[in-house]
């Protein structure tokens, strides 16, 4: 909310405070100043030179001898002699030939920097001495645009008649506009007067004008009834108070300059005096007002007295609002209606038909109070957010309605020559009790950790207009009506603390025993996994949890073979876009999209992600908390592109691109790091996302950890990836970590005896997986066989069609002795017999 400092200065003296110091102080007490606009003073977009830009007075206007549209204005700027200025201002043209004038204007000498009024946009230029159609000119009278006040460039700006002549313009029109960023639902801080009240308390300065005193000044009386309108609040739960003020014979015209400037600086557009005054009072006091054209307020059927009935809408009831939108209401929305139908949505926006316009003669002024949660509901349901709804939504003090109505009436009397009826109708069914809080000042010490002397607490609370009766251990605090946020003792602690000043608080170390210490093993294991994967050369990525349903479909190119999901997906009611409408049930789309975007720049990608997937699950064990959503951690990997970065020595031709075995190698090493390499089973996989011949599924016991392999070419195409092997993996990290925790192993005593190495080449069927042969050798040779490492694969005539030779390097070792030649040959025979019986393997060359 933008507030000009000059406006604040009406109620509390602030213009003597250095602006930066004021701003910082306000920041610290919770009145955050998000922005500061300087007008005219140094630091402004266009500072007004105090020596060259002055207030002045046009005393006569003469025709220009050589130009029809120009005039020569004689200006008194406070100097020894008046200055003749050439100008084309249309309003001065009208005074041609007149003298003895007192038109107050803004006057600029040559050398002054101004905005150019004749070009589009904001171009600065320095005023130069010149001749205009033969007449010398070394000064000018300025337009709002030239001063940077508004875009109005057609005519010059006129200052109030009371403006002194010859003073720097900055002293009259210069200002600072503070843009407050007030967090929280604080209706009492949504106004100039509310902020002034805070500043008064902070700086211990008295408030010097009372905008709330117009009732007395106008001698108004509140009454339940009056002739001019028949008022009824049918739903007092949604409308605690409604006042109606009768304003007769308004003269609708533009507001005076000072009000226009204040509204502009506050960010509002001046319209007409009547509308401007309702806006002005809303800004000044925080009470939204509404002006109805009295002439259109209809009576109830059978009556001649105009009526206002405040009631819930009938379901489906309609009205066109001021913004020319047709609105349909539900039964929880509050309408302002007359004898015929709706004329406004209570506290949100008026109806188009009852709007005040140039034809309006009498105005019925509404100052009311509405249930704030309901206002917010209505505003959200209708997607209609206005200044009024925003203020009511932050809670407005119901006590404010009548003083604000009177204040507006006062201004209407002054600026629209209106006559105010002496009786204001005031229905106040929801008048709140005065709120009191029993407050133990030691609560502040307990919560804050420092002792704020009790008389200091009293001083602060009283400065904020709280009533304090400091008797005994518990004080009785009377809360001012506008402090709707202060309800609990802790709220008073905050008031005391912020005004006392946090800069006076020391920092302390928690002086308590530590809670019982616990480790977070799942997180530790997860972080360890990250370190392992980074050690294996993979870059970590973190992708979006919200994905597109399309991407899930792209993972299953064969419509006959959809993916098997662990549960239904979690869908958003209000997604940002279809691409981000579903919580991921797989990490693969994120990995594939990351690969796609990076392949534009890089020829080698090796990435992993550890993150949660989300799906609906009826199993209480799986679902986190009681949301019915399981969120297990998954692990994904993706490698593609060059096996190694560009380098000067050539690698083996034909093997430059990474393939399945690159990913497999990473996984083998990872499993070894987790002591899982001999505890998992590898099988050919049949996952629809993968190349049907290049996919493996890895299990631990009967638990499937997940799949890995080369991406199916159709999936690769669907994700826009180039024609090269893309290797991906997705595993359930929870299962993997559980498996690792269960299989941490210790070999026992290390043998001091040298191992015996030998090689065995075995001929098996092409279809027999190498891992099966290896496992068979390990099992048959236990416990003497320590290692079985495949070192050659041969296919060809020597072994025959449909066969392959697998050569393994074996090492044998006993813990308690050196193995003899006899031991070794017995063992060898046992191994060969085993693979022969189990797998039909033959010793090559045998």
């Amino acid at each position: 909310m933008k507030i000009p400092l000059s406006w604040l200065n009406d109620y509390v003296k602030v213009t003597d405070l250095p602006i930066e110091a004021l701003r910082q102080r306000l920041d610290l007490v919770g009145l955050e100043v998000g922005g500061l606009e300087v007008i005219g003073y140094p630091g402004a977009r266009l500072p007004w030179d105090p020596d060259k830009i002055l207030t002045a007075e046009v005393v006569s206007v003469q025709p220009h001898p050589n130009a029809d549209r120009l005039v020569l204005a004689e200006v008194n700027y406070g100097g020894a002699e008046n200055e003749i200025v050439v100008t084309g201002a249309p309003s001065l043209y009208a005074y041609r030939g007149e003298s003895g004038l007192h038109l107050k204007v803004a006057f600029a000498w040559e050398g002054a920097e101004l905005y150019d009024g004749h070009v589009e946009g904001w171009v600065k230029s320095r005023l130069k001495k010149s001749r205009i159609r033969g007449e010398p000119s070394r000064a000018m009278v300025c337009s709002e645009k030239e001063l940077g006040l508004s875009e109005a460039a057609e005519d010059i700006i006129y200052l109030p008649d009371s403006t002194p002549v010859g003073v720097p313009l900055v002293e009259v029109l210069g200002d600072y506009v503070l843009d407050f960023d007030i967090k929280g639902p604080f209706g009492h801080l949504q106004s100039v007067y509310g902020i002034a009240r805070e500043i008064g308390a902070l700086y211990d300065r008295p408030l010097r004008q009372n905008p709330l005193g117009a009732i007395e000044r106008l001698n108004l009386k509140a009454a339940a009834e009056a002739e001019f309108v028949d008022l009824e609040i049918a739903d007092p739960d949604l409308c605690p108070r409604y006042t109606a003020t009768m304003v007769r014979d308004v003269e609708v015209k533009p507001s005076p300059l000072w009000m226009q400037l204040r509204l502009q600086r506050a960010g509002m557009r001046p319209i007409t005096n009547v509308v401007d005054i309702t806006n002005y009072v809303m800004w000044e006091l925080g009470q939204p007002l509404h002006a109805f054209d009295y002439g259109i307020v209809s009576p109830r059927p059978g009556s001649s007295q105009p009526a206002i009935i405040v009631r819930r809408a009938a379901p489906g009831e309609k009205m066109t609002t001021l913004d020319e939108e047709k609105r349909v209401f539900d039964n929880d929305m509050l309408l302002i209606t007359d004898g015929e139908g709706p004329v406004g949505i209570g506290g949100v926006m008026g109806g188009l038909d009852s709007e005040v316009d140039d034809e309006t003669r009498h105005v019925l002024l509404e100052a009311a109070n509405f249930a704030f949660l309901n206002i917010r509901r209505t505003s959200q349901q209708l997607k209609l957010h206005t200044e009024a709804s925003s203020r009511f939504g932050k809670r407005v003090d119901p006590e404010l309605a009548l003083p604000a109505a009177a204040r507006a009436a006062e201004l209407l009397q002054e600026l629209a020559n209106a006559a105010i009826d002496p009786v204001v109708i005031d229905h106040y069914p929801g008048k709140p009790e005065t709120h009191t809080i029993d407050y133990d000042p030691q609560l502040a010490d307990r919560i804050l950790g420092i002792e704020i002397p009790h008389d200091e607490q009293t001083r602060i609370l009283r400065a904020l207009e709280f009533g304090v009766e400091p008797e005994g251990a518990t004080w009785r605090i009377t809360v001012p009506s506008y402090r709707l946020d202060a309800r609990l003792p802790i709220d008073l602690v905050e008031e005391v603390a912020r005004v006392y000043g946090y800069e006076r608080f020391p920092g302390t170390v928690i002086d308590e025993e530590l809670p019982p210490l616990r480790r977070n093993r799942p997180l530790e294991d997860e972080e360890h996994m990250r370190d392992l994967l980074v050690g294996l050369g993979l870059d970590e990525v973190i992708t979006y949890s919200l994905i597109s349903p399309e991407d899930e479909l792209r993972l299953a190119p064969d419509p006959e073979r959809p993916l098997a999901w662990p549960g239904d997906s979690v869908e958003l009611q209000n997604p940002l876009s279809p691409e981000r409408s579903r919580m991921r049930r797989t990490l693969l789309p994120g990995a594939l999209r990351t690969a796609w975007s990076n392949l534009r720049y890089l020829d080698r990608i090796a990435i992993f992600e550890i993150g949660r997937i989300h799906f609906a699950s009826g199993e209480p064990d799986l679902a986190r908390a009681e949301t019915g959503v399981a969120e297990p951690r998954h692990l994904s990997m993706l490698v593609t592109g060059m096996r190694r970065p560009l380098w000067w020595e050539k690698g083996e031709a034909g093997l430059e691109q990474m393939d399945y075995l690159d990913l497999k190698g990473i996984v083998d090493t990872l499993l070894e790091s987790l002591d899982l390499e001999d505890n998992v089973t590898w099988e050919r996989g049949h996952h629809p996302t993968f190349h049907p011949g290049r996919c493996a599924v890895v299990s631990y016991g009967d638990q499937e950890l997940g799949a890995l392999g080369e991406l199916h070419p159709l999936v690769r195409e669907a994700f826009g990836l180039p024609d090269q092997p893309v290797l991906v993996l997705e595993w359930d990290l929870e299962l993997l970590l559980d498996a690792a925790a269960a299989s941490a192993k210790y070999i026992g005593t290390l043998s001091p005896y040298a191992p015996v190495h030998e090689d065995l080449a075995l001929v098996v069927d092409e279809k027999t997986p190498a891992v099966t042969v290896r496992r068979s050798l390990l099992e048959a040779g236990s416990p003497l066989v320590q290692a079985v490492t495949l070192f050659d694969v041969y296919r060809g005539e020597q072994v025959g069609e449909g066969k392959k030779s697998l050569a393994f390097a074996l090492s044998y070792q006993a813990p308690d002795r050196s193995l003899s030649e006899r031991d070794v040959s017995k063992l060898r025979a046992r191994l060969i017999k085993a693979v022969e019986q189990e797998l039909g393997a033959k010793l090559r060359g045998a």
Partner: protein, 349 residues
């Protein structure tokens, strides 16, 4: 010529010859010639039988002496020659030692992970344990139990993604957590009546368009301490220590009054801008200060909702960003770089 003189002559000739042996092969030949089975020294030794009996012992001794001397001379000559030959060979094996080495690929942790770990470490030093709560939350935990009832103006502070289906009763509606604060209630309910010191990290989601400065997905780290005597000055002390460890010990911290529905009193903590040292720059919006956390004393209603009697217990809570401090530290201007995963960006950390 006497046999003795002849022996000395052979000795001298052998030493002279040795100097001309410039390779190990020449040296082998020299060894054959003088010390071999048919070598000259061996031949000399055989003459002992034709000598006068009284000369024999002296002659034999001298032959042996000379033999040993020559063997020693040969050994040291061999050493020298081998060494120089090795040197020559190694010199021939020289390569360009400035050639780029065979590449070893190294992986990188995501900047978010690195920042999270830094936060875990700093708060672990102060006794804070990591506690994790779900991403998909119930409305009650994300809002109501945190003193943010439906339609309450405070809800405007969070634009929320709501989940389809399920129980649409108020409070039971599901959403993507907008902050890590729901974990406060979960941690309190789980741990009551123990005192608490936890940090709650996690992914949060807000209905916000993705721009240079805002993301719909981001990380937060929430902190919560509950005990019989936890105070505002403890909060200030803890966050000041955090700031000193994270941003640097010489930076001042300031505390501003603020508003959050789940804390009372509420504050925001700033540290002197690390980019301009408090002078004012674009990153700190010319204030000289960077916001490090929103914080406050846990609201009595929230304490009670967590099971802790606010007349007996008190607590503080804070919420810190993860991407923002990392951006400030490294001068990153575009938050989209975090989850856009441009590897050229991520590999720089």
């Amino acid at each position: 010529m006497s046999a003795f003189a002849e022996l000395e002559q052979v000795h001298e000739a052998a030493l002279a010859d040795l100097k001309t042996a410039l390779t190990t092969q020449a040296l082998d030949a020299w060894e054959d010639r003088y010390l071999g089975r048919k070598g000259e020294i061996t031949l000399q030794a055989r003459q002992v039988g034709q000598m006068a009996r009284e000369d024999r012992p002296a002659f034999g001794r001298r032959v042996n002496e000379i033999k040993q001397l020559l063997e020693q001379a040969h050994a040291s000559r061999l050493e020298v020659l081998r060494h120089s030959e090795l040197t020559e060979r190694l010199e021939a094996e020289a390569i360009d030692v400035t050639l780029p080495g065979r590449p070893v690929v190294r992986g990188h942790l995501h900047l978010t992970t690195q920042t999270l770990r830094e936060l875990y470490d700093i708060f672990a030093k102060m006794g804070f344990e990591v506690y994790e709560a779900p991403d998909v939350e119930l409305e009650a935990y994300n809002f109501d139990l945190l003193n943010i009832p439906q339609y309450h103006p405070a809800r405007d502070m969070w634009d929320t993604f709501w989940v389809e289906g399920g129980d649409q009763q108020r409070g039971n509606r599901r959403l993507l957590r907008t902050h890590t604060s729901p974990g406060q209630i979960r941690a309190m309910r789980e741990r009551y009546p123990e005192p608490l010191r936890v940090i709650l990290p996690g992914k949060c989601y807000r209905y916000e368009q993705i721009t240079v400065r805002s993301e719909h997905q981001f990380y937060q780290v929430e902190g919560l301490a509950v005990g019989p005597r936890i105070t505002m000055t403890d909060l200030i002390g803890t966050m000041t220590e955090f700031s000193h460890l994270f941003y640097g010990r010489d930076r001042r911290v300031r505390v501003r009054s603020s508003y959050f529905p789940f804390t009372e009193p509420s504050v925001e903590l700033d540290t002197e801008c690390i980019l301009c040292d408090g002078e004012g720059c674009a990153v700190c919006k010319y204030t000289g200060w960077l916001e490090i956390a929103g914080a406050g004393m846990v609201h009595p209603i929230v304490l009670a909702n967590g099971g802790y009697d606010p007349d007996v217990w008190s607590g503080f809570a804070f919420g810190a960003g993860v991407e923002r401090p990392a951006m400030q530290k490294f001068g990153v201007e575009d938050i989209r770089l975090f989850y856009g995963n441009d590897l050229r960006f991520l590999r720089q950390f």
